[in-house]
């Protein structure tokens, strides 16, 4: 962490940063001014700011989808594969369902999967990394071997097998539901986070202030939560943000192959799958969900990059 402090101090044009990051007597206004410094650094990254705007719009469109669009599952025999029109901005699919409505509703599912899966990863990754890094020794060795073990499975292949199991066993009742998919993706995505959290905890636990906390009788749990974890928040936030993008792509890919969220529930991935046979006649059917994934993922990547600059300047290239 001393490295990070120095890096921040050396960084040109962040005079405010030095003050906030230098270990010293805590000031009343520290949290406040640090938040301002971080916000300023984040918005200096113009692409990150743009990404945030797009992301807010995409999220709003997903949240408000039920109020803005027609029923995504309403069939219409007279309007099958209709070209874009005022009534159906993106046209209709092979069953006469409104493509715009299905795309926006698909966003609800895809974004929810991304958030739930990331949440699960965040929980497991932080817990494993924190315990391993804080206690070290045998605990660390055992937990890191476990992490290695999870890393040696080809993630997509394992997900497809789970998808097959869900489709073909008693679990079939769950197949229109995105929760099991989100949970499985989350259970298979925490390893990178665990490694980063561990590295940060390893470095921070040697700091004097941790020693000081221990000397006044703070227990391990309290030290980890109140003293070490705050120092690791930067890398965790950056990593978790990027992970949302990764999990959204994973879900889309899985659903595109037909092993993720099953129709008629729409997700961006299974919309793309449904659109493939009509690529020639109705390209907008595929382009709408595809562009939504692309825009969302790219915005998240920009935001992640901006957060890295703001919160974790040491790891900047």
């Amino acid at each position: 962490m001393r490295d990070a402090t120095e890096a921040a101090a050396l960084e040109p044009g962040s005079g405010l940063g030095d003050d906030a990051r230098n270990p010293g007597p805590a000031k009343q206004s520290d949290t406040h001014s640090m938040a301002r410094v971080y916000t300023r650094r984040f918005f200096r990254h113009r692409l990150a700011a743009a990404g945030l705007v797009v992301l807010v719009l995409v999220t709003l469109s997903a949240i408000l989808a039920p109020y803005m669009t027609q029923d995504p599952n309403a069939l219409s025999a007279s309007e099958r594969k209709a070209a874009p029109s005022l009534a159906h901005w993106f046209g209709t699919d092979e069953a006469g369902r409104d493509i715009l409505a299905r795309t926006l509703h698909g966003g609800r599912i895809s974004i929810a999967v991304g958030l739930i899966a990331t949440g699960i990863s965040l929980l497991i990754g932080t817990l494993v990394g924190a315990v391993a890094g804080y206690f070290g020794g045998l605990v660390d060795a055992a937990l890191m071997r476990l992490t290695d073990a999870f890393l040696c499975f080809p993630q997509l292949f394992v997900l497809i097998v789970f998808g097959t199991l869900i489709r073909t066993t008693e679990l079939r009742v769950l197949q229109g539901n995105m929760i099991p998919i989100a949970i499985i993706i989350g259970l298979l995505s925490w390893m990178g986070l665990a490694r980063i959290v561990r590295a940060t905890f390893l470095a921070l636990r040697e700091q004097d202030y941790v020693e000081a906390a221990r000397s006044v009788g703070a227990g391990n749990g309290r030290i980890m939560l109140r003293h070490v974890l705050p120092g690791a928040v930067g890398p965790i936030v950056v990593q978790a943000t990027l992970l949302i993008a990764v999990t959204i792509i994973t879900e889309s890919g899985l659903s595109y192959l037909g092993f993720g969220v099953q129709p008629p529930t729409s997700s961006w991935g299974n919309l793309l799958e449904g659109a493939k046979p009509f690529l020639q006649t109705l390209p907008v059917y595929a382009i709408a969900p595809g562009m939504m994934i692309f825009l969302t993922v790219m915005s998240i990547n920009f935001v992640g990059d901006g957060l890295r600059d703001a919160l974790d300047p040491h790891s900047r290239h």
């Binding site: 692409l47 071997r145 290695d148 073990a149 890393l151 040696c152 499975f153 080809p154 997509l156 292949f157 394992v158 497809i160 097998v161 998808g163 097959t164 199991l165 073909t168 066993t169 993008a245 792509i249 889309s252 890919g253 595109y256 192959l257 037909g258 092993f259 793309l272 659109a275 493939k276 690529l279 020639q280 390209p283 595929a286 382009i287 595809g290 994934i293 692309f294 993922v297 790219m298 990547n301 920009f302 290239h317």
Partner: protein, 329 residues
């Protein structure tokens, strides 16, 4: 070095065992198990016959005995039969492997030929227009889902654009070669290359983004080191300083990254193979999943996991071989 390799190889054994136990557990979970084939096909077997089959396959033995029998065969390369084709799993895999190696090999060479110059140039000309363009492109390449890119390529180059001479589609929609035609010599090569263009573009687009960005970062770290200044001070040309002094060192982490990506050569790019009907490993896995051929699925997962472990080992060894500053423990 030898001792180090041996120690690391031994350290991989628990991982391999762990993988095999998980894979076997998933096999047990799969519906029906090995006898489902008889039941599904409606062979009119009685319950007694079925019990007989189960006994002869050793399915009544305790789980750990079944597991060790299975593991014993796997170690000898016997993954059993693929349920749907009734062929040995190893045959199925060996049929598909060359196609995947071929596609991946070409995509990999194309990636390196483009990513390395781009990475070096954008680092040397940091913050130039070129560098900004590259950075923007890498963000696009990293963010576009490969399957969406594949569909777009299909839409543009197969469905929309026509070949001005024949009037047919500009590029074929998939497969390794045109089926039903025996081409020779130049025509055959042309046919093969045409079939490669779309899947290779789809694969390389993402890889170029990752590799060039990685190399740029690595070059930027090296370029500001003292020995680079020394090189310039003693009058070496910029070309030699960059290519021979900076790039060689910046390439060390790149080699590690390549080693880590080796399993891809085997697993193939599932999406590219599925979208462009490429008869490789990725598509084999996809088809096995559609047919619920758990034996085949698990064999491929098992082999892939082994390769990932091996690739990690190779990456560590390569890193230590190339960078003498890292002491062997």
């Amino acid at each position: 070095m030898g001792g180090y390799i041996l120690r690391r190889a031994l350290g991989a054994i628990p991982l391999l065992l762990f993988v095999s136990i998980v894979v076997y557990g998933l096999l047990e979970l799969s519906p029906g198990g090995p006898t489902s084939m008889y039941m599904r096909r409606g062979t009119g077997m009685s319950a007694a016959d079925l019990a007989q089959v189960e006994a002869s396959l050793g399915l009544n033995d305790p789980l750990y005995i079944q597991y060790s029998r299975w593991l014993g065969k796997v170690v000898q390369g016997d993954f059993g039969m693929a349920t749907t084709s009734s062929r040995p799993v190893s045959d199925e895999i060996l049929d598909r492997l060359p196609n995947t190696l071929y596609l991946m090999g070409v995509a990999w060479v194309v990636t390196m030929l483009i990513a390395i110059p781009i990475g070096i140039l954008s680092a040397v000309k940091q913050y130039s227009k070129f560098d900004h363009l590259v950075t923007a492109m890498t963000f696009v390449g990293q963010s576009i889902p490969s399957f969406f890119l594949g569909l777009i390529l299909l839409l543009v180059f197969y469905m929309r654009l026509d070949n001005p001479f024949t009037g047919g589609p500009l590029l074929p929609s998939g497969g390794v070669k045109t089926i039903g035609q025996t081409l020779t010599g130049w025509d055959m090569i042309k046919d093969r290359v045409l079939h490669l263009i779309l899947p290779v573009t789809m694969l390389a687009a993402t890889w170029i983004a990752w590799y060039s960005r990685f190399l740029r970062a690595s070059m930027l770290e090296t370029i500001h080191l003292d020995y680079i200044r020394t090189g310039r001070a003693k009058g070496l040309t910029e070309r030699i300083v960059i290519l021979r002094h900076a790039f060689r060192n910046a390439a060390i982490p790149l080699v590690t990254l390549m080693a880590l990506d080796l399993p891809l050569l085997f697993t193939g790019a599932l999406f590219a193979e599925v979208i462009f009907s490429w008869p490789g490993m990725g598509r084999l896995f996809f088809q096995a999943a559609e047919r619920r051929d758990y034996g085949l699925l698990m064999a491929i997962i098992m082999i892939t996991s082994f390769l990932i472990i091996l690739a990690n080992l190779l990456a560590d060894i390569a890193y230590r071989l190339l960078d003498p500053r890292i002491k062997l423990r």
